[in-house]
Symmetry: C2
Subunit: 128 residues, 2 copies
DNA sequence: ACTAATTTTGTAACGCTTACAATTAAGTTA
DNA sequence: TAACTTAATTGTAAGCGTTACAAAATTAGT
């Protein structure tokens, strides 16, 4: 994957990418750093940020502006989806995209991507 | 409006609220501060943040997590709408919401609000 | 006018992110 | 393999938006 985009697949970058890809929580840079510094004792925060930027530029990751002051990351090759943020437990759930999203846009506009964030209570918190 | 929510309508708060309400650009805290410090020479950044928080808590403003590291503000009493961010000129356009947004959500979830951000090229930048 | 409560203000600090230079590692050529 | 070139990693320091806090100023009610 990285070779195709002229990215050198270093051990750190592989670790960052596969962690985000296998992690269901859309982790932040700091979460990634904390979880990986066990395997890479010399890991630097800067490396995590560098990797995240490189992988984002290569369209392997997507940045989620879901939480103020904390960028979160998503594995991009997955099918497009929205996100639901529970205001109580803070968990983030993937949601399917509603059909006909582009319907309501002015003609002449060119859409690169659509970001949908629902906020509310998840089913578990809603019961309590 | 503020009285109804137990908010004291100070001159600064009125200025912040009416500036956001009449400003089509969804301004950031810093933009608000810059534009208002002419009328209020002693205005403090903290006051702007305080006012924005108070007005947000009172549901008169809405926070937009559109731009990383820069919260933007929207006048809430307007009908619900999405936002289109042009990747070239950076302008933010209001867009109508697509119908049946809640369709795709898991039952049991309670939706407080939906945020939709389109990214791409606006009609003017698209022509160039 | 007096008191009590709220708001504004300025400074300092916080947290996430970036800039930068030095070190290390990885590819390339001979 | 050895020398060379390029790219990635690391640590420190700085940047930026935001928040915490205490003092001063303003407002509201008696």
């Amino acid at each position: 994957m990285m070779h195709r985009n002229g990215l050198r697949p270093s051990a750190q970058r592989i670790a960052v990418l596969s962690f985000v890809a296998n992690c269901r929580t859309h982790p932040s840079a700091d979460e990634i750093y904390s979880r990986l510094s066990g395997k890479f004792p010399s890991l630097s925060r800067t490396t995590v940020y560098n990797s995240l930027h490189a992988l984002t530029d290569a369209s392997l990751l997507r940045e989620l502006e879901i939480e103020s002051g904390n960028m979160r990351y998503d594995f991009k090759p997955q099918p497009a989806h929205g996100h639901f943020v529970c205001r109580k437990c803070g968990k983030i759930f993937d949601t399917p995209l509603p059909r006909s999203l582009a319907d309501s846009l002015t003609p002449g506009f060119c859409i690169d991507c659509v970001e949908i964030v629902y906020r509310g209570l998840c089913d578990i918190c809603n019961k309590q």
